[in-house]
Amino acid sequence: MAIISRGFLGRRCAADAKLPPGQYLTTDFPVLSAGPTPRVSVDKWEFTIDDGNEVLKRWDWRSFRELPTESITVDLHCVTRWSKLRTFWEGVSLDTLFEEIKTDAQYTLVHSYGDYTTNLPLDDLLSKKSWITFRFDDDDLAPEHGGPARLLVPHLYLWKSAKWVQGITLMREDQPGFWESLGYHNHGDPWREQRYSSDE
């Protein structure tokens, strides 16, 4: 049993919010990274959807920014237990990006500039569940928070919202990503507290 540190709260604030189990409210925006921040200029930026064999669709920054965007307000839940509520983003819905894609692949592997990957069922990306975002809180998305663009999948733990997103590979079989391959939960629903692979 750990020794309780008298009066220790950490960076958290006490608030009466409805949070997923085991989460704590924070008002700042922690930067958690598994590596150096990639510096990607928008001149070189590309986003692709491929099926493992060929690129199905590709956007450069200009063509990406011509797509219709949405402004969204969502709650963020990180598996390291902090939650940040009512965050404000602008981005392109994955439904828009997948409009002309026909596939019977059920799984995806999202990959970032750098070497980060995370896997999600395609269903968890579509039907208004995810966006490629490029603005946060009325400003261009900062590099330390994933800029120029990051995936945002608010209904799952934040490790699924890949920063510095570069593309999505469609897969017929599921393949675990960077953290999933070490024991983090394959799906990651914060409301069912799916943190680790041993969780239900």
């Binding site: 922690p30 930067v31 958690l32 990274s33 598994a34 590596g35 150096p36 921040t37 990639p38 510096r39 598996v79 390291t80 500039y113 750098g114 070497d115 330390e144 490790w159 960077f178 953290w179 391959s181 070490l182 024991g183 983090y184 943190r195 680790y196 692979s197 041993s198 969780d199």
Partner: protein, 95 residues
């Protein structure tokens, strides 16, 4: 693609977490990066601990050397990024 923010720690900072699964202190060990072949002291590895686990990267090429996660009661150590670790056991123990 390198960070100019000098936002990493080094292998010394990871030693406490690594002691959950390794009985030997590896900071003095020399390791070979499986990606670029550089042989460096593990104490000099670039370490990121502000994430759901510990990630140590090669100071020369930034590829992942090892990852450590504590998931519930289980500790998982993935060392596929290191070809070998070499430790001089005569160097003296921790105390």
């Amino acid at each position: 693609m390198s960070s100019h923010a000098y936002d990493y720690l080094d292998g010394n900072a990871a030693a406490g977490e690594l002691s959950k699964i390794l009985a030997v202190d590896v900071t003095a060990a020399v390791g070979q990066c499986a990606h670029c072949g550089a042989t460096r002291r593990f104490a000099d590895a670039h370490v990121y601990m502000q994430c759901p686990g510990v990630v140590a990267r090669c100071a020369a090429c930034e590829h992942v050397l090892l990852r450590l996660v504590s998931v519930g009661h289980r500790v998982v150590l993935d060392m596929r990024g290191i070809t070998y670790l070499s430790l001089d056991t005569k160097l003296g123990s921790a105390t």
